[in-house]
Amino acid sequence: MPVTKRPSSVRGMLLLLLLPAGVALMALAWFIHGTLLERMSREFVESRLKEEVAFLEHRIRESGGAIDSLDAGDYFQEVFHHAFAIASPSQQMVSPESWAPLLKPLFASDKQGGVNIHDASVPEAPPWILAYRRSFMIDGVMIVVIVAENMESLQQSQETLHTWTAVVSVLLMVLLVGSLWIGVTLALRPVEALQSALNRLQSGQISRIDATGPDEFRPLVGQLNQLLDSLEHRLKRSRNALTNLSHSVKTPIAAVRQILQDTGRPLDQELRQAIVSRLDDIDKQLEAKLRRSKFAGAHVGQSAYPVKLARDLLWMLGRLHSEKSFELATNLAEERCWPIDEQDLNEVLGNLLDNAGKWSSRCVELLLEECRDQMIIVVGDDGPGVAGEALKTLGKRGLRLDEQAPGHGLGLAIVFEIVQRYGGEVRCGLGRSGGLTVTVQVPFPNQILSTNKWHDR
């Protein structure tokens, strides 16, 4: 069975739902109107016939059961415009005469009240009549009185009325469809504005989207603008990084090439050392720049499992330094997610733990916790620690990543740089056992976004 495709636009969906619902409700109202109209008119006719029967009965009783005296010709018909039939054991009377074939069979029945008679075979009589039959005794004589109304003509006028109702309904429906259309279009106008803003953005006429519009769209527009900000920021950063990189790498390459191409010059020990040191420069530059460009920084839609990553790293470092113990203390559940890029978090944890592992004498402890609006990472070791003055400059700003000497400071400088991008802070101190304790605090992103400091620097 083929499934009909749902319209993908909001307007299409609204119209698809509202229009058939409007039509169906209108049709239902029209149908109910018809049924009620028919029932009402029937009840009305029946009650009138009943009154006339009662009137006739009254007259017959007054005349003491003599039907003849009622033979006033067209009197009743003129007064009531109804056909009637009266029967006593001695006499039967039907007016008008042409209805007799329809009414006479009713004398014999013993029904009281209204009867519908459909019979199109009698000429000059209507095909559908409603008759009201009543029998009563006067002085021991059974009298039957029937009053009948031509329903055909009533039906016709009723149908005319019903048709008019249909016409009015259709008109109303057209108005309803129109107002729905206008309502939906008006309500969706901000979307069109947004769409045109996006088009203009794409064609480069504007660089950010105005955050006006209904409340429902404001967060969306805000997020979009933030995304644009971070995109632009990143592009700038990677361009800068690449430019710097080519500057700093091409010179040593040129130097090494010069030496190697100079066939007249013997490759002595000193020259070899020079080449090696130039190549080391290139490697150092590459490493630092590549690492920086790999950091994701704060952006939407990222997450990592801190406990899982921490366990893996602790286990790995425990394998590499088998004489030391790497411990985890945390109240976080295994499946708890932090809104930090996985590679960034790995880099922070890895560098902190690796550093601690190098300096510790037998134990490294990692603490992961959350307090209200912050994610907290604490790494402590039982190594020799760092002397007071050096503690202050450890991995501090000003010392750029590619200016740090490899070894002790490099890992911490990376951590500083990443944490800074998330609007967090790193503090170094000495633990109770004298070893270095590094505390990283990173705010949860909604706090950063609201203060708009979420991109670095």
Partner: protein, 221 residues
């Protein structure tokens, strides 16, 4: 000492092998993952240096193949990427250490000697209790569903203690001796936290509490 070097860069491989041969190693060079797998399976080596980026596959797959067929020589992996996840994956696949390219030959040789020394006298060393297997050399626990869990140092020592004598009740004081942490006077709560973590791995019923006495590993099936 025979050594296998799996590296696709000819210049690097030749340079390394000549330096290693000066130190008394006899080096076989494989330049593809396929050759590496075959050589590792057929010959018996003392150690291996394995590059992760090979032309016909990942070095990690080579390593997994070897470890899958119980080839246990120590492996030093070489990687150009240097992100932590790759290092973790390398060690999980069964490597003993890693080195990031470029490296100095002295560093490589020092690491190589270290992993050879560590692997000396190392055998498959597994403590079994019930459905659980504790791999002492890899510090991992294999549960009954075949899943491998990595353990921190204290978790491992506690579990080794408990699983070493299933059915024996260990007091908190005894277990506290297995504890290493930065706090000089660890409280008994620390032991309770570790027991909670271990119970998550092996099931609540497997480590039983004997009120006032301590804990017991219940290995009944």
């Amino acid at each position: 000492m025979r050594l296998l070097l799996v590296e696709d860069d000819r210049l690097l491989a030749d340079g390394l092998s000549s330096q290693l041969e000066k130190l008394g190693f006899s080096v076989d060079i494989a330049s593809t993952a396929h050759d590496g797998i075959v050589l590792g399976e057929q010959e018996s080596y003392r150690a291996c240096i394995l590059d992760l980026g090979l032309p016909d596959g990942s070095g990690l797959d080579v390593l997994r193949r070897w470890r899958g067929s119980n080839i246990g020589f120590p492996v030093l992996i070489l990687t150009a990427r240097g992100d932590w996840q790759e290092k973790v994956n390398g060690l999980k696949a069964g490597a003993d250490d890693y080195l990031t390219k470029p490296f100095q030959a002295e560093e490589l040789i020092a690491r190589l000697h270290a992993i050879i020394r560590r692997s000396e006298g190392r055998m498959v060393d597994i403590v079994k209790a019930g459905y659980f297997e504790l791999d002492q050399s890899r510090q991992t626990l294999k549960a009954n569903d075949g899943q491998e869990h990595s353990l921190t140092g204290t978790e491992f020592r506690l579990l080794r203690c408990l699983m070493g004598r299933p059915g024996h009740v260990f007091s908190k004081e005894q277990l506290m001796e297995q504890l290493y942490n930065l706090n000089d006077n660890p409280s008994e709560n620390v032991i309770e936290a570790y027991i909670r973590r271990l119970r998550k791995l092996v099931g609540t019923d497997t480590i039983k509490t004997r009120r006032g006495q301590g804990y017991m590993f219940d290995a009944r099936d």
